[in-house]
Symmetry: D2
Subunit: 345 residues, 4 copies
Amino acid sequence: MLVVMHASASTSDIDRVCVAISAMGFQPLPMPGAQRTTVGLVGNDRRVDGSHIEALPGVAEIIYVSSPFKQVSREWRAENTTVTIAPGVTFGGRDVPVIAGPCSVESESQILAAAFAVRAAGAVALRGGAFKPRSSPYSFQGMGKEGLALLQRAKQETGLAIVTEAMDDDGAHLVAEYADCIQIGARNMQNYSLLKTVGKLRKPVMLKRGMAATVQELLLSAEYILSEGNDQVILCERGVRTWDPSSRNMFDLNAIPTVQKLSHLPMIADPSHGTGVRDRVSPMARAAVAAGADGLLIEVHPDPNKAFSDGAQSLFPQQFADLMGELHAIASAIGRHVAVLPATP
Amino acid sequence: MLVVMHASASTSDIDRVCVAISAMGFQPLPMPGAQRTTVGLVGNDRRVDGSHIEALPGVAEIIYVSSPFKQVSREWRAENTTVTIAPGVTFGGRDVPVIAGPCSVESESQILAAAFAVRAAGAVALRGGAFKPRSSPYSFQGMGKEGLALLQRAKQETGLAIVTEAMDDDGAHLVAEYADCIQIGARNMQNYSLLKTVGKLRKPVMLKRGMAATVQELLLSAEYILSEGNDQVILCERGVRTWDPSSRNMFDLNAIPTVQKLSHLPMIADPSHGTGVRDRVSPMARAAVAAGADGLLIEVHPDPNKAFSDGAQSLFPQQFADLMGELHAIASAIGRHVAVLPATP
Amino acid sequence: MLVVMHASASTSDIDRVCVAISAMGFQPLPMPGAQRTTVGLVGNDRRVDGSHIEALPGVAEIIYVSSPFKQVSREWRAENTTVTIAPGVTFGGRDVPVIAGPCSVESESQILAAAFAVRAAGAVALRGGAFKPRSSPYSFQGMGKEGLALLQRAKQETGLAIVTEAMDDDGAHLVAEYADCIQIGARNMQNYSLLKTVGKLRKPVMLKRGMAATVQELLLSAEYILSEGNDQVILCERGVRTWDPSSRNMFDLNAIPTVQKLSHLPMIADPSHGTGVRDRVSPMARAAVAAGADGLLIEVHPDPNKAFSDGAQSLFPQQFADLMGELHAIASAIGRHVAVLPATP
Amino acid sequence: MLVVMHASASTSDIDRVCVAISAMGFQPLPMPGAQRTTVGLVGNDRRVDGSHIEALPGVAEIIYVSSPFKQVSREWRAENTTVTIAPGVTFGGRDVPVIAGPCSVESESQILAAAFAVRAAGAVALRGGAFKPRSSPYSFQGMGKEGLALLQRAKQETGLAIVTEAMDDDGAHLVAEYADCIQIGARNMQNYSLLKTVGKLRKPVMLKRGMAATVQELLLSAEYILSEGNDQVILCERGVRTWDPSSRNMFDLNAIPTVQKLSHLPMIADPSHGTGVRDRVSPMARAAVAAGADGLLIEVHPDPNKAFSDGAQSLFPQQFADLMGELHAIASAIGRHVAVLPATP
């Protein structure tokens, strides 16, 4: 339930509504907006009767939220949420930031080479896994804390913001310390304990859609993070599982406008996992921007043939540089522009 | 099996290869190319031994086609096939033609209004069903032959090429008479009797991907048409079925570069069925062009709220006109351009 | 809309209702039942206002059928429909008939060997394709009319009923002449022209579920057949397409009780296509009977390793004989029994 | 890589092989079998060259395991693994134990009523969630530790073994203390941190298949648990996600024989989640046993209409009692029997 206040409502009007909601056994959540304040009611997932609140002074309207998600919905907040993970790297506005880098951090020379290459081509943030969720326990599991230190080093050298994945509570606290944005991977999209943990941290979170998660489930998982008080959430389409083996995944670009209609959160796209094959990454990166994606996440490796993981879908640095040129043109065609960092450090 | 001839091979060299293939019990199919001729072998789906052919004069190379499709594959023909359905309406080249119009032909006034509207906005061909495959036998099944006559009328008035669906043998012959391109719908993608029928007609065919057809199955169905002698085939991605109810279909844009890599046939996209919801049609039409689609098929109705079918996914004429402007900009950004008809009639 | 008459309603009461429905512009369809008559209204797929009919003498109740299918639904006919394709071979009652045989008719000796083997093991009907829908135009397409004659020969020798597929109008008329039941394959489940054709023939039809058809779509396709006047329809689950490559198909046994709840038509299962792997056919055949399937369709080949098609999923004759023993035990456990033919001819 | 020793190999032969594997940089894992010992090599997921090991005394054969899973595979261990979670409750042998109970523990009276009811009908273990993974953060999340205490109470009263879910590390340690088997739910099937945690605990684990996990991924997730030293793992099919909304999930019974062929671990089935609709639970429970399932997990609630969660798929106690009678008959038909507890405590 959302209580929409009149534009002229006073602070005490708002307080009175909060008291009434508390008295009903729920938690009030006031949301000041540009023109008016809205007060949300947290702690129920059934319809409640708000008729007595409707009669309080300053109340314009009661909206019964029928959709299962609340704080992530456009009904709850009409304006886009912008998420700034570092100076100049903002998701959800007119800019389209590009995050690029290797699947995994493999060594100091590899991550620095990757960072300089993507920086030169125009990326504003660096990706690279220090903790890797792998289907097999015998596959390379990442460099762990040492990898995080290397990412921090790459940031100092290039000025790129850092986005990297956390797989459990301890990892989340570590990543929060070293990186600018905590990534929650597809396999953990419904790891609710982890979602609650990052909801309590005060750090931007990038939540990737699960391999067979519906758009509604993605939004409900984001709701777990927002319900703990953290609204700095970036959603990410990364391809889903279907019956067609012709691509590793099916890249669901419909999800971009769908999420943007239902939610105020920024929605970016990962064409590398979305296709799984190098020569389809560039066409799909262009398509994602044309569809209105609020950013891109792209795998680039200084030497893809030697990558420890995901080599087949990583771009060569030159391919990435060529792609960035095309993306600038596509973004312009729809009135947006690819984000750029102010100056090389 | 493909027998690639030297660039310098003579006509009698080629004839000798054809005779040898016939003597093996198969049918030879000579394919003259820009630089050299290739001779295909039709009538087998297992590996044959072509070692004695390799020794014939003028033979450069034997390629054993391991993929299950043959004539549709890039190995069989390296250059793009272009399909011209009417003067100025060519698929598979640098141009990106847009076919637009209502789901069904409903009346003379409706189809003429639609034709003038999409012509004015820049479409080069008119779509509109006279025979409608409907899940329920009690739903509107189309105007039949009368609808075809109205489409012909619309062509005379506007100069637009006509694309319309056939559902069975009789219908295919009728559509071939009235229209410029015969559409085979998703539900009939594996109706092999119908595919053979349109393979024997000398008329361009647009083959839509089945609701849960893999890319390989789409190409094998096209192979049925080519194997009967008709290579004027346009493929069409129209969204596929998945487990996410957030869109009517999932629009598989990965299939665009995938098909273009595997096959020389043009591949277009239908964002109307690909999304099923009006406000996602424009973003996905832009995305399809950015991904490299060789054309678009878009539902536009003069009055969508009164449409007999698919109203919810049909654009209003003004929305379509706005979209066409964006498409011109996107196509330019990737070095192509949206096809235009020479002059209003 | 269904008009349920009182048990005591007279013939003239029923006539009066039919006249009233005709006057509304629809076609009345009286359905005499064991206890009372119901009158259906054909020709609409929207809600109609039947309030004035409710007031007519003898009318007990009006049921507004909200589901998109009508004549196939349990609301339309409460009792199971039984479909007898030959003496002693009845689907939809207490008996569970087993149809068995090779994927394709390959030769006289092959089909006779198969027929005698499955007859000896207890099958009551013989399957075997004379017309084969194959993904590739270069694969074996069946023996055609000659194959039908061989099936007829096998029937004369063994007394088995014959079930075989038709792929187009001409084929349907031929199959109707030679066989006891016309099979419509998965790829043609939404070939509405063909469904209308077999709806006009007076021959039992076995309709297989499409590779990615929902239960609702299966029932709507059956509705096409019933709406043309043929209610002798057997439905068949044959596995569907999913994202898991561990089996060729996913065998959807949930569909058995689901269809039986929604419809009065018999629902059988094909564990051969439902699994695609020989060693899973027997467990899944047992499971289908335990789930309540009204019959089974099983591929058995006298020499699977030499089969022209589907060899990998065909049982050896001895495996089939062993399975039949298990099926008798499972059927007994749930109060049914596997159908048997009276005596060897 | 597996090193199969001769039946006559001595302990020092085996030790020598272990030393050789260690020298290659991997960890040897000797597996004594009924007839011979096999030594596994842990720590690689690529092919290694074992030719020098093949020449050591006592070595019969080297098997290169091409499949991505190792310790869970039948090649690694040919005999079924049996998992005994409490006296008389063994999975993987001839017995088919039935675990039943409510979705969630809701109160002392509810869980005790459920426990007595399922005990009376013949279940040997009680299910009931204390920690509940819910799509929405606003849904009932379970009673937590208090719920575990109530389960323990129910065990004391009825003698039923206890199976309940853990969602994170802390929860896993708590559940291990209170229950006989730790359940890992579908959403956490690829929560590798949690899998490693339960791999280190010495407690049986029931691992449910993810909503869109392939059979191979299920086995790889089990491999995470075995690779930490815990081979007491029961796998569970619980229905998967597809494009057909006619059931909540599609119950993939093919997975039963598929897993049993690939792995030595017991595989049970959960027809309650596998269907999501009460009236399909009994047919599918019967089908699962007929397909060879090594146990069942069934939701039964003393008053389903008042259940906090999953009420629509919970059986009434009387339905469950009726079903148990049918299951005894089906199990007998295939030479197994439904497990029974010795006597009421």
